[in-house]
Assembly symmetry: D2
Homo-oligomer: 247 residues x 4
Amino acid sequence: MSCRNASVAIIGAGDFIGAAIAKKFAVEGFTVFVGRRNADKLAPLISEVQAAGGSIVGQSLDARKEDEIAAFLARADQHAPLEICIFNVGANVNFPLLETTERVFRKVWEMACYGGFLTAREAARLLVPLGRGALFFTGATASLRGGVGYAAFASAKFGLRAVAQSAARELGPKNIHVAHLIIDAGVDTAWVRERIKAQDGDAAIDNLPPDRLMNAASVANAYWQLYEQPRDAWTFEHEIRPFGEKW
Amino acid sequence: MSCRNASVAIIGAGDFIGAAIAKKFAVEGFTVFVGRRNADKLAPLISEVQAAGGSIVGQSLDARKEDEIAAFLARADQHAPLEICIFNVGANVNFPLLETTERVFRKVWEMACYGGFLTAREAARLLVPLGRGALFFTGATASLRGGVGYAAFASAKFGLRAVAQSAARELGPKNIHVAHLIIDAGVDTAWVRERIKAQDGDAAIDNLPPDRLMNAASVANAYWQLYEQPRDAWTFEHEIRPFGEKW
Amino acid sequence: MSCRNASVAIIGAGDFIGAAIAKKFAVEGFTVFVGRRNADKLAPLISEVQAAGGSIVGQSLDARKEDEIAAFLARADQHAPLEICIFNVGANVNFPLLETTERVFRKVWEMACYGGFLTAREAARLLVPLGRGALFFTGATASLRGGVGYAAFASAKFGLRAVAQSAARELGPKNIHVAHLIIDAGVDTAWVRERIKAQDGDAAIDNLPPDRLMNAASVANAYWQLYEQPRDAWTFEHEIRPFGEKW
Amino acid sequence: MSCRNASVAIIGAGDFIGAAIAKKFAVEGFTVFVGRRNADKLAPLISEVQAAGGSIVGQSLDARKEDEIAAFLARADQHAPLEICIFNVGANVNFPLLETTERVFRKVWEMACYGGFLTAREAARLLVPLGRGALFFTGATASLRGGVGYAAFASAKFGLRAVAQSAARELGPKNIHVAHLIIDAGVDTAWVRERIKAQDGDAAIDNLPPDRLMNAASVANAYWQLYEQPRDAWTFEHEIRPFGEKW
C-alpha cells in the first residue's frame, strides 16, 4: 500500500456500502475520513482498516448540520488535501401516502437530500480553490422512480439527484468530477436480507443465488472506477445492478 | 354558467397561473377556493370572478403548515364536495451553489416540495373516501433538469415530481387522477418580462412575438383538459411549451 | 355537424384506434382520408361515418412506399387543405432475440418507423407552405422501454419517436404542431382480448373491470385534445394510461 | 503483455474509436478481430498492434449483411472463444427533414441500427451457449435526443438503444453483460476537427483547450471499465462526456 498525500471524506459511513468504500480507498493509499451519526459504530471499520495498514479517522457526524459538515471536511482537508468527497447517507423508508407523517417526510429529506446539498456546497468550497477533485453521491432506484409507498424516500432521492446534476454542470468546467451512482438493486446488507426473509421466507435467503444481491465491495469498486476516469470522459450518472436483476 | 355542487382548491393562487386556473374553473361552474400567503392580494381575482358570476372564496394560507392545508381543504369540501385540488406554489430562484444558503435551500423546498406533499396527503384524505377526484401539480423545466444555479429550485421541483409520481401510482387505482404538468417555458408574467428585459434589453420585450411566452390562460386550459380526460386514458406527466420554444 | 374546409389524413386506419380517430374528426366536420394496407377492410368504417353524415375517403395504402404516401396526402390536400396528419401504423410483435429474423426486424421497422419518417416528411412538404398544421404519431410503452422480446418492435418505436422529436424541433417554430402520443397500456381490441384470454384464461376477460383497458375512442379524444391546444402551450410527448394500469 | 485464449470482435473499426478499442484489448492480451467496410484501411492499425506484440485480425465487413456478421463472429470464436463483441458502426449525418432522402434514412438505419441488431443476435448465438460474455454498443447524444436535422441519425441511434436494452434484459440473466455507451460529446477525430473549423474558424481548433474533446483512447478505456465490472454490479447505460462539455 503506497501512501498518498490526499484525503477522502465519506459522509454516511454505514456498515455496508460506506465501510466498503472506506476500505477500498484506504487500500489505495488515501487517508479516509468517515462520519456517521454514532461514531461508536465505526470502531470495527477503523480497526479493520488500521490492521491492514490503512489510514482512517472516524467521527460522529450529523449530516443535517451545516457546521458539522464544514468542520468534518475541513479536518480531512487539513490532514491531507481533500480529493474525493462521497455522500452516502441512506434513509430508505416505505409508508402509504396517508400514513407518511410530516415528521418522516421532513427527516428523510433532511438526511438524504438536505445533507447532500450541504455536503456538495462545503466540498465545493474546498475543491474549487484546489482546481480539481471529485464529489460523488449515492443514488437508488428511487432516484428515478416514485413507486407506491415511496413519497418520502423518492422525493428526497429525486431532490438529491437534482443537487448532483446542478453541481455537476456548475463544477465540471472547474475540473471537479461530480457523479451520481444509481444502485438499481438491493445491496447485500443485513437489512435487505431481513426484508427478503420477511417477504419470501427463510428459504429465499438460503437459496439466494450467488451475485443475486449486489455486494457492497462492488459499489466501492464502482466509485473507484469513477475516480479513475480521465477528465475527457467523465460519467455523471452511473447505474449499476446485478446481472439477474429485473428492470 | 351552470353551477356545480363541487369545489376546486388551488394552493398557491398567484396573480398569473393560479388566478387563470381559478377563473377557468369558476367559469365552468365550480366553487373555487384560492389560498396564498397574503390573502389581500387575492382581492382583484375575487372581484373579477364574482363580477363574472362565479363562486370563489379566498384566504391566507401558508402551504408549509400541515394544519392550514388540512383546514383549507376541509373548508372547501364542506362547502361543496372537493373534486379537484391543484398545487401551484412556485419558488423559482437561481443562485450559484456556493452562494445558496441553507436558509434558501430549505425555504424553497418547504414551499415547492414539502407543501406539495402536505397537499397530496390531505387531499387524498378527502378524495379517497369519495372514490374519485383529481390532484394536480404544477411542474417546470427544473422538474427534469438540474441546471447551473438551480440546486435549490430543481431539487425542490424534482422532489415534488416524486411525490406526484408516488401519489399517482397509489391513488390512480382508487380512481383519483394525479397529474404533473410540466411548464417547459417562461410564462407571460411581470417577473418573466422583467427577467427578459434585464437580460436582453427593452427591445426584446417590445418585439416579443405573439405566443412566444406561454399565457397563463393556456396553463389553465391544460389543467382543464387533464380534468376532462376519461379515466381509461389519464395522463400523469403533461408537458407544454410554446411553439417557438427551444428544447 | 358543421362542415370545415379542411382535411385530416390518417395513415394506418385500423379497426380500432385508427377508426376511432376517423370518426372523431369526421364528427368535428373534417373530411377524413383513411389509408390502410387493404382498403376493403375500410368499408364498415366508411359506411358508419357516412351514415352519420360525415365526409370520408378511404384507399389502399402501403405506408412503406414513398410515392403512395405522397399521393395520399396530396389527394387529401387537394380535396381540402390538409390540417392534420396522423401516423398510426402498428406492428406489435414479440420474439426472443435469437428467434427474431432479419425479415421481421426489417418489416416491423419499415412499417412502424420508416413509414412514419415518410409521413413526417411528406406532410411537412404540404404543411410548411401553409404555415400551420398538425402532425401526430402514435407511440406505445415500447417507445420508451426495450423489454424482453421486443428488440424489433421497440427498436422501431424508439426510432419513430426520434423522428417525431426531430420533426417537432424543426417544425414547431414553423407553427406546425408535432406530437407523439404514448399509449402506455393495452387498448381494448380483439387482439388484446385474445392475448389476455391466452395468458389469464376466459374468466380474465369476463371479469375485466370497466375502463381497465383503454377504449379506442379515448385515444381519439386524446388526439382531439392535442389538436385543440393553443400554440403557446403545445404538448410534444403525451402519455395516457387507464386509471388502474401498473406503471 | 500476457496472452489470453479469448477473442474480441469489433464491428465498425474506424480510425479513431474502433482503433483505440482494438489497441486497448490487444494490449490486454486478447486476440482482436476488426471489421470495417474497406479492409485496406485497417492496415495501419494492424501494423501498430502487431508491432506492439498484439494479436489482431482484420477483414472487410459489411455490417448490413447477416451472413458476413455471422461469419466474422464465428471466425473470431473459432480462433479463441469469443468474449466481447463491440458494435461501433457510426453514421452521423445531418439533414433538414425535407432534404432527408429515403435512401439516406434507410442507409443510416441499416448501418447504425439494423447492423447492431444482427450483431446482437449473432453474438448472442455464440455467447449464450458459453454462458458468459459481453456485448457492447456505441451510442451518442443522438441516442437520447432527436435534434434539429437529426431525423435519420437519431432515429437509427434510438433504435439501436432499444435493441441494446432489449438484449440486456434478455441476456443479463444468462450472464452476458450488455451495455450501451453514450458518448455525449465530440470525439477528437479528423471529422470533428473539420466541423469545428468550419463552424468556428481555424482559431477555434488552434485554441482548443486540452481535454475539451474526448480522446478515442478514453472511449476504449470506458469499454475496458465496463468489461471489468463484476456481474453483481453491471452497468447497462454508461454516459461519458468531457469535463467542460455543456449538457
